[in-house]
Structures are given as structure tokens and as C-alpha cells.
Chain length 370, copies 2
């Protein structure tokens, strides 16, 4: 009825407040919320109808069937590079999300200060206190070179064991630390280990695109601001929401062979060849940390998709065929579902840990374990 009369909801709301009409605030708020959510979905569908990914079926196709003959590690070994004196929550969120989805082992490589804290969040993670920030490194270049080589070697000795690296959650912007992380990215490329770049990893990569350019196993997961900086840097223009799909395609193509997951009310994903959107579910709550869940989730799904595609030797019909696209679609869809379940339960007080607790149920709803 409100829609029929074309009234502005804020007017209705204020009118209700002023005149103490029944039914009052609670009902109006509910209507207002539903209309907004439905409105958003409507926009997305219009925008994404032919682009919308078949995310539930993709999730079902790439999530491995349980097999009692498999042993520890075969369902995925993920490593997060991040966690410094300032930030400890982000790498934890990414690493624990990977385990909650079904990875067998989840490592974090962080600074010495961050390690005891991240360890204390959960005994399930393997946390390596190996990164160094400028304040703990001597001024002499010889010392810096020595420490940098040691840090990179500490991570590299594990590299071959990892199915995917997540670079960036809680990384910070210390120049010495970022230099070491650049070398770690180079090592990962040499070992053909897929890399998800998020958070401060995107700051690093935006200023040095060569780190990921031409690497088809790299995924960038920018939020609004990170995307804006990427567009400005690479395409030398502003974000164009009228041609969001085209611009994302150009951006991925221009950087070269990477896949980009542009986070937003509707997630857009492109590898420079095609564009897909994921717009189902989701939550209006924007608490910090959801991007970290996403990066950890994409890491697991990308690993599974890659394993499946490599094992299937071309017999598998799945679309899209690029494992980075599949990983992004599945990760995005699962996070959106978990966020909506958590919001249903917790409303305004929804936190990232509540969403993480819904990851298992969300995956089970779409893709039962047995």
C-alpha cells in the first residue's frame, strides 16, 4: 500500500513517529527493510540477469565428496600471510574460515608480536612468528638483507605444501614487511601456488602490478576503495558504475591474466575473459572482517576447483572453466549465505565471528556432506 501510494518511507516513518499511529515503528521498519532488501535484489537481477553465476550448482560441483581413504591434508592446506603489531583479527578470520569450510590445515605467517595473540584465538591454527617490521630490524642495509632472506626462506620451506596462499589480511603497511611479502609472492609464483590478494596486499600490488601481472593463479579481492585505487592506477580513470561489467573486464585484462572479485552489494567477478555476478542472499551489516572470511573461503574453493579440474583431465563439464572464477563464485556465494543466516539471528549485533559460525550450516544447506 505504501508503494501503491508512492509515498516516501521516511515521510511515513516520521509521520508515524509524530502522530503515534498504530501499527507503529516496528512494523514500518520491517516493511522498510524488506522493501530495501528486495529492491537491492531487484537491481542486481536487472543488472546481472545474464551474468548471474549458477553459484549453488558450482558449489556442489567443486566441493569434494568425502572419501575415508583420504588422509590429512588432501582436503586442502591453506596459508595466510598477514598479522602484525596492529592487526591480529583479520588473519585469524581468514585462516579459521578455511578450516570451517573443510580445509584440513590452516597456517598463518605473521610477525612475532602478532603470533601469541593469533594462536590464543584458536588452537586449530598453525601460526608461524616469522615476519618482521621495520622497528625490529636494524638500520644497516646488510642486516636488512640478511633478515629479509631469512624471512622469505622461512616461508619458502613450506611453500610446496600449500594449495593456496592468502596474502594481505592484517598485513599492515610497513615498508620492510611489504618488501619481504613481495619476495614471498614471487616464490609462490615460482612454485605455481595460487594467491589471493586482499587488504594491505592490494595496497602492495596496486603499487607494483608486476607482482601479479601475467599470473593466472592470482585473485584480487578489492572492496570499494581498493577497487577505486586499482581503476585509477591501471585504467587511469574513475570507477564507472554504468558499465561496471565492462570496466571490470578491462581492468582484469589490462593487469593481465588475473581474476578480480569486486566486492559490493552485488559481487562482480572477472578473469578478463568473462564477467559473472553473485547477488543472492547477503546482509546489510557491514562489520569489519567479512572480507577476511571471503579471502579464506575463496582460497579453499579455488584449491578444490583446481584439484578437480586437474584430476578430471578434461572430462568435467563445468562453467566457467577457470578455477579462479569458480573459487570466487563459490566463496562469494557461501559468505553471502552465511552472512544472511547470521543476520537473521543476530540482527544489528551480527559480528564476523557469528558469520563464521554459519559457514558450516550454509555449506551443508547447499551441498550436504552425506
Amino acid at each position: 500500500m505504501i508503494v501503491k501510494h508512492g509515498m516516501n518511507y521516511l515521510t511515513v516513518l516520521n509521520s508515524a513517529r509524530n502522530h503515534k499511529l498504530a501499527p507503529p515503528l516496528a512494523v514500518l521498519r520491517r516493511q522498510q527493510f524488506l522493501i530495501r532488501v528486495l529492491g537491492v535484489r531487484g537491481d542486481n537481477r536487472m543488472q546481472g540477469s545474464k551474468f548471474e553465476a549458477d553459484s549453488d550448482n558450482i558449489l556442489r560441483a567443486i566441493t569434494p565428496v568425502f572419501d575415508p581413504n583420504r588422509h590429512k591434508g588432501q582436503a586442502g592446506k591453506i596459508a595466510v600471510i598477514g598479522g602484525c603489531r596492529e592487526y591480529t583479527g583479520a588473519p585469524y578470520f581468514a585462516a579459521i574460515s578455511a578450516l570451517k569450510i573443510g580445509a584440513d590445515l590452516s597456517h598463518v605467517f605473521c610477525t612475532k608480536d602478532a603470533a601469541p595473540v593469533i594462536k590464543s584465538y584458536s588452537p586449530e591454527l598453525i601460526v608461524h612468528p616469522v615476519l618482521e617490521e621495520s622497528y625490529s630490524v636494524g638500520d644497516r642495509d646488510r642486516d636488512k638483507d640478511h633478515i629479509s632472506r631469512r624471512v622469505v626462506a622461512e616461508v619458502d620451506k613450506w611453500m610446496e605444501r600449500f594449495d593456496c596462499l592468502v596474502v594481505g589480511p592484517g598485513l599492515g603497511r610497513d615498508p620492510f614487511l611489504l618488501d619481504c611479502v613481495s619476495e614471498i609472492i614471487k616464490q609462490a609464483r615460482q612454485s605455481n601456488v595460487p594467491i589471493i590478494i586482499d587488504g594491505d596486499g592490494l595496497f602492495l600490488v596496486t603499487n607494483n602490478l608486476g607482482l601479479v601481472s601475467g599470473y593466472p593463479l592470482a585473485i584480487l579481492t578489492p572492496n570499494v576503495n581498493e577497487y577505486k585505487r586499482l581503476v585509477q592506477k591501471v585504467l587511469n580513470c574513475e570507477v564507472n558504475d554504468q558499465d561496471a561489467h565492462g570496466q571490470l573486464l578491462s581492468l582484469a585484462k589490462q593487469i593481465g591474466e588475473v581474476t578480480i572479485l569486486r566486492k559490493g552489494k552485488c559481487d562482480l567477478i572477472s578473469d578478463g575473459e568473462i564477467v559473472k555476478s553473485v547477488s543472492n542472499h547477503g546482509s546489510p551489516r557491514r562489520c569489519g572482517g567479512q572480507g577476511d572470511i571471503l579471502s579464506g573461503s575463496v582460497a579453499v574453493f579455488l584449491s578444490w576447483a583446481r584439484q578437480l579440474i586437474l584430476a578430471d583431465e578434461g572430462n568435467l563439464i563445468i562453467s566457467p572453466t577457470n578455477p579462479t572464477m569458480l573459487g570466487c563464485i563459490a566463496g562469494s556465494a557461501l559468505l553471502r549465505k552465511a552472512a544472511s543466516l547470521a543476520f537473521e539471528d543476530r540482527k544489528r549485533s551480527t559480528l564476523t565471528t557469528d558469520i563464521i559460525e554459519c559457514l558450516g550450516r550454509s555449506l551443508e544447506d547447499i551441498c550436504p556432506a552425506c
Copy 2:
């Protein structure tokens, strides 16, 4: 039906994927899972029919009846030697599992870096920050000798109080630390304290078999890779799954008097005299940390079995009669039941902490406290 027609399940799955048959993925996954699980059980039964341990009855026989006259410590005092800069979760899992099953006191001896973190996981544990890694020890041999003697003495002063030692969870591979742990193992042998060797403890022992050879109170609990290394080192050949029982028997005999629990989809146990298998329950989830639960559980059951056998002065009819065999059978059976309960509830998102939470209920199901 799938079995009747002798089809390969991956073919069925791919066929369904390709042709979009109804009923689709979810139903096929369910069928596939059930057939795999039943298949495995079938294999195990065929393989293990005459070897399958009567694990529920063994659990009931060795778990002590509550007696209000008993005092703190009489239901078991366990110590875990492990926990270093990198690993803190593993010793926690082993130590807390011992308590959750019914031990009265659970100690952890770890490095100074690991101690505050392990303490933070639970106030129930007694955590001793006494181990040292090379980076915190001077280069001079005199310093090393001095520190090593101090470390060993710190553990040894507690030794007589312990009913069982678990050596290895989260131990790491630092050479200085492993040298100290070798001495601790020798002290435990002198005091006739049973020892469970797991994780990096197996790395140590595989390279120095004399540490456990000829000690009937030693149990080794290798996983797939650790077992492979042991077989290569001791029997100078590869793992032979066609004669898994015979090879395990030879391995235990060759090392000399030790008991080996070979972890897998079906757990195999041998003391060089007999072989038993435990294949009931279990879960297809292979998240890291389950081996630590097992080592802590075996420690408790071995202590109880030994106490019972020593107290009964030969009147007890129980088979097998070796307390290390009984401890392994009971520990394996309980972990498998707890893992299956946790998986029933949490599915893909099952983590080691979820399994630990099911230990109490699992034991209660088999062997009610009162």
C-alpha cells in the same frame, strides 16, 4: 543399483554433471558417500574379522569405577612433552583430551614462547615453560650442556609422579630441543613410566630407534607418512598394504617389544606378538589435531589398564593382556566414536575442538559413569 551395475561412482557423478540428470548431485553424493563408507566397513571386516578388537568391552573393562574414597591423582596424571614457537595447539589437544576422558591432572612441558599461549587455551592444564630451542641457547658447548642438564632435571623431578608421558605433539624439530627430549625419554624409561610417541617424537625416534627399542611400555602412533618412514628405516622396504597385518607385526618385532598403533581408515595395532584392528565408527573429516586427541586418550587408557592389571595380580580375564595393546584399542575406539558424533553434528566444519567436546559423551555411551 550402482553397485549392481558395477559402475564407477566418479563416472556416475560426472555423467550426472554432464547430462544434468535428475535426481542430481545431492542424491548421488549421498549414495556415493554411503557406498564408500559401507564399502570401507566391508573391507575392514573382511580384512579384520578375526583381528577386530572387542573395543567396547575393553573400554568398559579398563575404565575405573568411581569410588568416593579415591583422591586427586589416582585416576591418572599425564604429561605431554611438546609445544614450541611454531606449535601450541597440538600439546593442548593431547593434554585436554586426557582430562576430558577422566584423568585427574594433565601437565605440559613446552618452550618458554609456547607456555603463555597454551596456558591461555585452558586454565585446567599445568604448563611448565622449561624446554629450550637453539635460538635461545648460546653457541658455546658448555652453555648447551648446562642448559640441557637443567631442562632434563626440570622434567625429571616430576617424572615419578606421572602415570604416562606423551612425547611429540607440537614438539618441532629443533636439534637442541630434540637432544633434550632424547634424555627425557631415557629418564622416563629408567623410572618405568609408559611413553606414547607421536608427531615429531616419531621423527626423533625413527632416527634413533634405540630410544624405544626393548621398552615394552613404549607406544608409537604413526600416521600414513610417519609409518612409511618407519617401515623404510626399520624394514628397509616400502609399505605393503596387501599384508598390512604381517608387516606391522614384523615392524613392532624388529624395533623390539614396542607397540605400534598405525592410524588410518582402519586403525591397526601390534605389539609384535598379536595384531588387532579397530574399524568401527570414525569420520571422513581429516582436520589436523585428531592424532593429538588419540595420543592423550591412549595415555589415559594405558594408565588405567596398567593400574588394573598390576592391582589384580593375575585374576583378571581380559584379552589382549598387554596394557599397551589395551590402551591403544580403547583410545582408538573412543576417538573414532567421538569423531563420528562430532561429524554428525558439524559435518564439513568439524574441527578438533568439536571432537574433544564429544569425548565425554562417547565414553558415557559405552561405559556409563554410574
